[in-house]
């Protein structure tokens, strides 16, 4: 019974014929999955992980197609079965879990209808029996009160609960293999851990083989038995998880592991192990020469006192009928000159709202903000102008933070021109210099944002922020949309900026290990309230509140990851 091979993939090639060239999404990969085993498939954007999963269940979207290789489910070859027969395998013998639980369920049918429909079809049971099985399954995946909730619609379930329903749907026909494609990426950390535990538990209990596709090394380390590392459509390294993560052999695996932020210790910089021409020139020291001298101010540069923000949740003609949602609730903290201050919390905790309040993008519903010892008020136009000159922001989504219709040089020049920081005739030189410094080259100015990758766009954002020579930089989840290796690059740049230009930073993140690597002090937010503010090291070693303890507990463990190339 041991080592019973469920699925074997041999020399698989998936191609997408495009107008100009053929894109090879998967390029000759081979692997196997054994009964009761969790196999992780890890890699960055465009590595071909999801395409591998889609190939196994025979759902590659046209015009993509399998051009070579074989896929076997036990003894049976399944890669070129007619679609009717494949349909009997898909869902029956191979279950699938998608990324986003909010869109995976049909909103117009009850959870029960969707479950029983699948059970009746695959297990050929009657309605009553299917319902009984459905209730048992919902109970098994941890949905409280399943005999009532089975008749509810998806919108009545929260995100985590919906993903449990999706898991129940994947399990309801007793499949032999489950393909889980980024099953927890859309969920908060606390829920992520629960869902991963559930998948792991069910896999062991039912002896199902699980292929877990993810970009997250932490998830791989915590849940999988074996791992395949994909890069550019190929598997570069495969083996037991412990061995691959602890003693990686391939350079790509090494670079990937080195880029993972560690929660246990702060390192000076992320090591840049070059692979596939990824190294970039970024010379900040040069920039520091022309940088205005930072005045050492007394007390904090930014001081936030009891700020509150309410959003209208339900509008009404009658003021007393309006319902408000308090996003930020009486929050106070100070940020010292030259310091990186972190705000950490789950989605909906109010961290981005605070950033926008400080940046004067949102009006305050209560409280005050001081900048450089002076109260920030909207009424004083000149003071506001002066304030805006000194702050800049780097946003989360590199795909939306640059206007797609503007050229890069215009994007970088706009704030500096509007705020009158540089004389008009010097703008071009300044833009060219900045582009050079962030490693894109002066000639990139005439291009449009869509010609750049996510990491490059984030560097354009940084150049735009630096153009006004700000004293205070707000970074709102600047790397959460990026791959780990790119994240490491951007974080290194931010560290350089802080060190050489003496910038003061507010760093917002949901990712504790990143915060550990970046921040001097950290505030923990929950439901709009600031629970505690600590020096970073103390927070991680000696958390004061239960919530922080819980958050730290839920962090993916990276103990088994190799520490090659890291230095304090």
């Amino acid at each position: 019974m041991m080592n019973e091979i469920l699925v074997s993939v041999k020399d698989l090639v998936v191609e997408f014929p495009m107008r100009k060239r053929t894109l090879t999404a998967v390029n000759g990969i081979s692997f196997e999955i054994i009964k009761g085993e969790m196999l992780g498939v890890v890699g960055e954007s465009g590595a071909g992980k999801s395409m591998t999963g889609a190939a196994i269940i025979g759902l590659i979207e046209p015009p993509g197609r399998i051009t070579n290789g074989e896929i076997h489910l036990r003894e049976e070859r399944i890669d070129r079965l007619p679609s009717e027969i494949m349909r009997g395998i898909r869902g029956k013998r191979i279950g699938v879990i998608f990324q986003d639980p909010l869109t995976s369920l049909n909103p117009l049918y009850t959870v029960g209808q969707q479950l029983t429909e699948t059970i009746e079809y695959h297990l050929k049971t009657g309605a009553a029996e299917a319902r009984k099985k459905a209730i048992a399954l919902l109970d098994r995946v941890g949905i409280p009160n399943p005999s009532v909730r089975i008749d509810q619609y998806p919108h009545q379930f929260s995100g985590g609960m919906r993903q449990r329903v999706v898991i129940a749907l994947a399990l309801c026909s007793d499949p032999e293999v489950i393909i889980a494609d980024e099953p927890t990426t859309a969920l908060d950390v606390s829920i992520q851990a629960q869902i991963l535990d559930l998948i792991k538990e069910l896999a062991k209990e039912r002896q199902v083989g699980v292929i877990l596709i993810t970009h997250d090394m932490g998830v791989i380390a915590e849940t999988t038995d074996r791992v395949a590392v994909m890069y550019n459509g190929e598997i570069v390294e495969t083996g037991p998880t412990k061995k691959v993560l602890g003693e990686p052999e391939h350079d790509y695996t090494k670079s990937l592991i080195a880029a993972v932020p560690r929660p246990d210790r702060k390192f000076h910089r992320f090591p840049q192990i070059s692979y596939g021409g990824r190294e970039t020139v970024f010379d900040i020291k040069d920039l520091a020469r022309n940088w205005p001298e930072t005045k050492k101010s007394e007390g904090p540069l930014v001081e936030v006192r009891n700020i509150t923000k309410k959003f209208l949740e339900k509008s009404s003609f009658i003021p007393s009928q309006r319902k408000y949602f308090t996003a930020v609730d009486e929050v106070s903290f100070g940020i010292n000159t030259g310091e990186v201050f972190g705000l950490v919390g789950e989605s909906g905790s109010g961290k981005s709202t605070i950033a926008r309040m400080i940046a004067a993008l949102y009006k305050l519903d209560g409280g005050e903000i001081d900048f450089d010892g002076k109260l920030v008020t909207r009424t004083d136009k000149n003071a506001m102008f002066e304030f805006r000159r000194q702050i800049q922001m780097i946003f989360q989504d590199p795909y939306s933070s640059l206007n797609p219709r503007h050229r890069v040089d215009r994007i970088i020049a706009e704030p500096a021109l509007h705020l009158g920081v540089i004389p008009k005739e010097n703008v071009q030189d300044r833009v060219a210099e900045l582009l050079d410094k962030v490693g894109l080259g002066a000639e990139s100015g005439i291009k449009y944002p869509h010609e750049f990758s996510g990491g490059q766009r984030q560097r354009i954002s940084i150049a735009r922020a630096l153009a006004t020579q700000p004293r205070f930089l707000i970074c709102d989840e600047p790397t959460s949309a990026l791959d780990v290796s790119i994240q490491a690059q951007i974080l290194n740049i931010l560290k350089d900026l802080q060190e050489h230009l003496g910038l003061t930073m507010l760093f917002i993140s949901h990712d504790l290990p990143v915060v550990r690597q970046m921040c001097d002090r950290v505030g923990v937010l929950k439901d709009g309230k600031l629970l505690e503010v600590q020096e970073t090291d103390k927070l991680f070693t000696n958390p004061q509140t239960d919530y922080t303890k819980e958050l730290l507990q839920l962090m993916p463990k990276t103990d088994m990851l190799s520490t090659e190339g890291l230095s304090a």
């Binding site: 999801s50 206007n403 791959d483």
Partner: protein, 327 residues
């Protein structure tokens, strides 16, 4: 926990980085420009539609140079020439290839001159509607709150009524208010005003919904961060990013506006018979259909149908070409 809206969901999934999509997105955007041209070249029917549209535009624009006679000049007309059938029928006259109407106007010349009026009304009302709709939509979407509520409430109410009815009502009221004076000069402007005013809602709604999406994007936040004036943000940043769908609507609306003009003229409340548009010609010919003079109606009818069909085909193609998901 409040119900998570669709917008939040997408934001969250984007934030979490859906790895495969990132690459595909940048690929598509980078090839978009050339792909529009490519999809044009690939679709034979679109090329044909473009050629037909161009020919009709050309004919209309240079009607005074091409047309065998000037049908709008009473001095050129003679009742002796009235109701001559097309040249290939019995009793046809070589001077009038497609025959004449009851006043002796050559159908071919009237077609060229008439499509000139039809197109002029079409274009003018589309531009009028677009400017009105885009401004109001941008304002409603960006400013939000009460401004939004008022504009969109008006739009909603107007949308319950079909454009043709609105146009008829405005047309009727305007003519009532103008007291029937100067019908011939005012007809064009009355038509443009009534058709334009009945079509603005579509632009406003589309621009508003795109503006709502764009306004939350971070490049707008970045512009707000440096204290750029809201009007500058709307015009410089938001407007260029919401123009794609507007272009599609404008093309399809051109076809609709031409139909509406023809319909109003056919109903007898549009362009007066002294300087007939295509719709007016069909109206004139309709009275002669039963007595066998079919050409007075049929030629303008066919012309109208071909023009509208060609413009619609271009609109359909444009919509598909600008929407990468459909490819």
């Amino acid at each position: 926990m409040p119900y998570v809206t669709g917008e939040e969901t997408t934001a969250r999934t984007q934030a979490a980085g859906r790895p495969e999509n990132v690459v595909r997105k940048s690929l598509i955007t980078s090839m978009l420009d050339s792909d529009i041209w490519h999809s044009f070249k690939r679709s034979k029917i679109t090329i044909l539609a473009a050629i037909v549209t161009f020919l009709i535009f050309f004919g209309a624009l240079f009607a005074p140079l091409i047309a065998p006679q000037n049908p709008f000049d009473p001095a050129n007309l003679s009742l002796i020439d009235s109701l001559i059938p097309p040249v290939w029928e019995e009793g046809g006259d070589a001077r009038f290839l497609l025959g004449t109407d009851d006043q002796g106007r050559g159908i071919l010349s009237t077609l060229l001159y008439g499509s000139r009026i039809s197109l002029a009304v079409g274009f003018a009302s589309v531009i009028f509607a677009a400017i009105l709709g885009i401004s109001l939509g941008l304002l409603a979407g960006y400013v939000g709150g009460r401004t939004d509520a008022v504009i969109m409430r008006i739009a909603d109410i107007q949308l319950t009524f079909p454009a043709i009815l609105i146009a008829l009502l405005i047309d009727g009221s305007l003519r009532g208010a103008l007291g029937g004076i100067n019908r011939e000069q005012s007809a064009f402007y009355v038509l443009v005003f009534s058709i334009g005013l009945s079509f603005w809602v579509q632009y406003a709604r589309t621009v508003r919904s795109s503006t709502l999406v764009e306004k939350n994007k971070e490049y707008v936040q970045a512009a707000r961060l440096i204290g750029l004036h809201p009007i500058k943000i709307m015009v410089r940043h938001v407007l260029p990013n919401v123009m794609g769908p507007v272009l599609v609507i404008a093309t399809i609306n051109l076809a609709l506006a031409i139909i509406t003009e023809a319909t109003l003229s056919f109903l007898g409340v549009g362009i007066p018979p002294t300087q007939p548009s295509l719709g007016t010609m069909i109206r004139i010919g309709n009275d002669f259909l039963f007595s066998g003079e079919w050409w007075i109606t049929m030629f303008p009818g066919v012309m109208l149908a071909i023009l509208v069909l060609a413009v619609n085909l271009l609109g359909d193609w444009l919509r598909d070409a600008l929407n990468p998901r459909l490819r």
